[in-house]
């Protein structure tokens, strides 16, 4: 398939480089920062709330506002993830693991810089892919049936090994617990409720955002409250000059590229999104553990992988939207309404008939990524000052934010109660040294694995061999086996060396 003519692209790009559109992009980016950073609010909510505001606006202004929120929203959740272990959105949970560790070690500046840089790189790489290959990649989105989604889910589960901390057994138990939480509510295959204890509120299952708030933020609050205040003095925050960033980016160039590609391709797959992308990229980044690498290098790799992957979802998710009219993630699902109001039905004709509008979308996303980069780098000096607030003041404030975030999800007290219950469960598990991340991964991937296993079998007359006769699924399953075999072998040899 041919690309759009370059002059159409250029004209489209020029059309949006004008003060009014740039201003609306900036406003979008700022709103995106707020929605991304506030726990309980996400880029999806931000775009949904802003959509009716664009009913009377032109295409360029409408897209400037909404795509600004989109690009900044996927990044901004990393700031509270790094500073207070509270991912602003599910996609930033993987960032919390290493980012928070860096912040506690006095390197919040470095962690935020890395997150900003990785987000910008991920966003731009996915944009380039969207620009040059969108029509060809549409078929990739359609190569995935339930069989492939099942294999992908299983593949994602392998990253539990990377986030289990000291004990793989506890990691696996945690993931199993998360998968159990994922079975609550209406069964998506059978249509009937499971384990709801007669509570209608649980029909929709255990929602992800309150679970994240509970297992990350609330658990951490309770753990810290148990530490004697005088001992809990953090080392002073170090500055990290911007000029060192390009060097860091180059040193981790391959990781940046790989994670951005993972993010883009997962973005292309409908029904997935930044959360899965970030965990898979994170898991991949932790496979290499050279002896020479210090703790900081491993943490650096973790933040880079998670953030470049979750922001790369933006360009990826637009591929099926603009080529098939099928959204790649939840934000693009909301964008359909915004496009319809502009009189544009996203579908196979969009890029060919509206090459100029396609160019406008690309340009706005690029501008939004750059604005996020500048604003993020600007904010990284100020924000870590939050860590200087004494825990006895900071912790209750975070607790209130968590409760408010829970309430924001469905405007009902149920989620707030759920956060409290799961938070205490998380604290109890943490006291027994269970890592929290596997639980969250289990909750995210459990339903994908279960539903697609059952659907895949139902659609193929209960034939189990379908999982190895379809090529993509076979490759993914083989990759899982190889990863497991390799890490077992490595664990044995390192033990032997000692």
């Amino acid at each position: 398939m041919d690309l759009i003519p370059l002059d159409t692209l250029a004209a489209g790009a020029l059309a949006v480089v004008q003060p009014e559109v740039l201003l609306w992009t900036l406003i979008g980016v700022l709103i995106g920062f707020v929605f991304g950073a506030a726990p309980g609010l996400t880029a999806t909510t931000g775009v949904a709330i802003a959509t009716p505001l664009t009913f009377g606006a032109g295409f360029d202004v409408a897209m400037a506002l909404l795509l600004g929120i989109y690009a900044a929203g996927y990044f901004a959740g990393s700031i509270p993830a790094i500073l207070i272990n509270t991912p602003g959105a599910p996609g930033n949970a993987a960032t919390a693991l290493d980012g928070y560790r860096l912040a506690r070690a006095g390197k919040a500046d470095l962690a935020i810089s890395l997150a900003v840089m990785a987000s910008a790189v991920g966003g731009v790489i996915s944009l380039l892919i969207l620009m040059v290959a969108a029509p060809n990649l549409a078929s990739f989105a359609l190569a995935f049936t339930s069989v492939e989604y099942f294999a992908l889910g299983l593949f994602g589960l392998v990253c539990v090994a990377a986030v289990s901390g000291g004990s793989l057994v506890k990691g696996i138990l945690g993931a199993a617990f998360g998968m159990f939480l994922g079975t609550l509510g209406i069964d998506e295959v059978g249509g009937i409720t499971r384990f709801t204890f007669g509570l209608p509120e649980l029909q929709g299952g255990v929602p992800l955002i309150p679970t994240l708030i509970a297992f990350f933020a609330v658990t951490e609050i309770l753990l810290q409250a148990g530490v004697h205040q005088d001992i809990a003095v953090l080392p002073p925050q170090q500055r990290h000059p911007v000029r060192r960033l390009p060097g860091l980016a180059l040193r981790h160039g391959w990781l940046l590229l790989k994670s951005s590609l993972i993010g883009t391709f997962i973005g292309i797959l409908p029904g997935t999104g930044p959360t899965i992308a970030a965990w898979i990229a994170y898991g991949q980044s932790q496979r290499r553990k050279a002896a020479a690498d210090g703790e900081d290098v491993a943490a650096t790799r973790g933040v880079i992988a998670a953030e470049s992957a979750n922001n790369a979802v933006t360009g990826g998710a637009l591929v099926p939207l603009l080529t098939l009219g099928i959204p790649g993630d939840t934000v693009t699902a909301v964008l359909i309404g915004a496009l319809l109001i502009q009189g544009i039905a996203p579908g196979p004709f969009f890029i060919f008939e509206h090459g100029d509008l396609f160019a406008q979308i690309l340009t706005i996303l690029l501008v939004a990524a750059l604005m996020t980069l500048v604003l993020g780098l600007g904010a990284r000096r100020v924000l870590p000052k939050i860590l200087a607030i004494p825990p006895r003041i900071l912790l209750p404030i975070i607790a209130v934010l968590c409760a408010a975030g829970g309430f924001a999800i469905s405007h009902a007290p149920f989620e707030v109660g759920l956060i409290a219950v799961l938070g205490i469960a998380g604290y109890t598990l943490a006291c027994f040294n269970f890592p929290m991340a596997p639980i969250v991964i289990g909750l995210v991937l459990g339903p994908i694995i279960e539903v697609n296993l059952r659907n895949g079998l139902a659609a193929n007359a209960m034939d189990l061999t379908i999982f190895i006769t379809r090529p993509i699924s076979a490759v993914l399953l083989a990759a899982i086996l190889m990863t497991l075999a390799w890490s077992t072998w490595r664990a044995r040899t390192t033990e032997h060396d000692r």
Partner: protein, 323 residues
Amino acid sequence: MRNWNVLAGGLMTATCLAVATGSGAIAADYPEKPVEIVVPFGAGDALDSTARVIAERLKDKLGVPFIVKNIPGAGGGKGTAEANKAAHDGYTLLMGSTGALTAGPLINDAGYKAEDFVALAQLVEAPIALAVAADSPYKSVKDVVEAAKQAPGKVTYSTPGPGATQHINMEILAKDQGIEMTHIGGRGGKGAVTKALSGEVDFVFVGASNYTSLAEAGKLRVLGVAAEERLTYLPDAPTFKEQGYDFDVAVWFGLLTNKGAPDDVVDKLREAIAEVANSDETRDLYKKFDLNEAFLDGAAFQERIEGNVATHAVVLKDIGLMK
């Protein structure tokens, strides 16, 4: 200390009194405060678009904000249960749709029943249609039915999810034709379309507006529209009726409020909604969202809901989903 208790007690009594008198609103005063419209699906959904179009107009008409509150989850069950908990004073409206309202409570202990709500007005309908991928061997509804007769359970199809209107109605057709097919949920309409495009299922049965651009591009073939007449945006797609199948089903969206709301408040709401729903402005916005205007007044809508519940109960029992 004692004085504080007395004061607190007094304040609480005063609050209770205020609440009590507030809830006894009469139509002359209604609405005195913002009204909430609970949308049991996420922002950006077709149901949500309908609610937002109407909310804006109702605000202008009645002079108080009409706030759209999205409570997604459980195929609409979670938000509907939440709306059922609200005070029966007409200050909480429900944007109801087929399935969540008419089938959900029959399948699970959903925390509400269709009878818990009183109908205000049906607003729009979304016609449903059957489509196959471009490379599918099926060229007509008859081909699909014949294939299913040849090999029971072998033909697969997708809808937004188990218990959805689309699923229930396809099972009604299957029962009428004496055939058996395998259902795969698509986690929403677009997801169901994807399953047909990727070749995972033999056909998809969801809202017809999902097909428009894909059909034009030749990626999908619409074999049957379950409506009285052909659709303006899919002029080449034949109806089921043209092919000899008496099959006319649609997903409807409409406003309801809790049963027990004062009669005069219900009347006032019905009147206001009828007026804004039948304005040209509203119709223009519907068109942009590919929503088919299908106004029914409160009484007619109520009758339709009750009729749907009765038919759905029969089918759900047949396919073993009835609780």
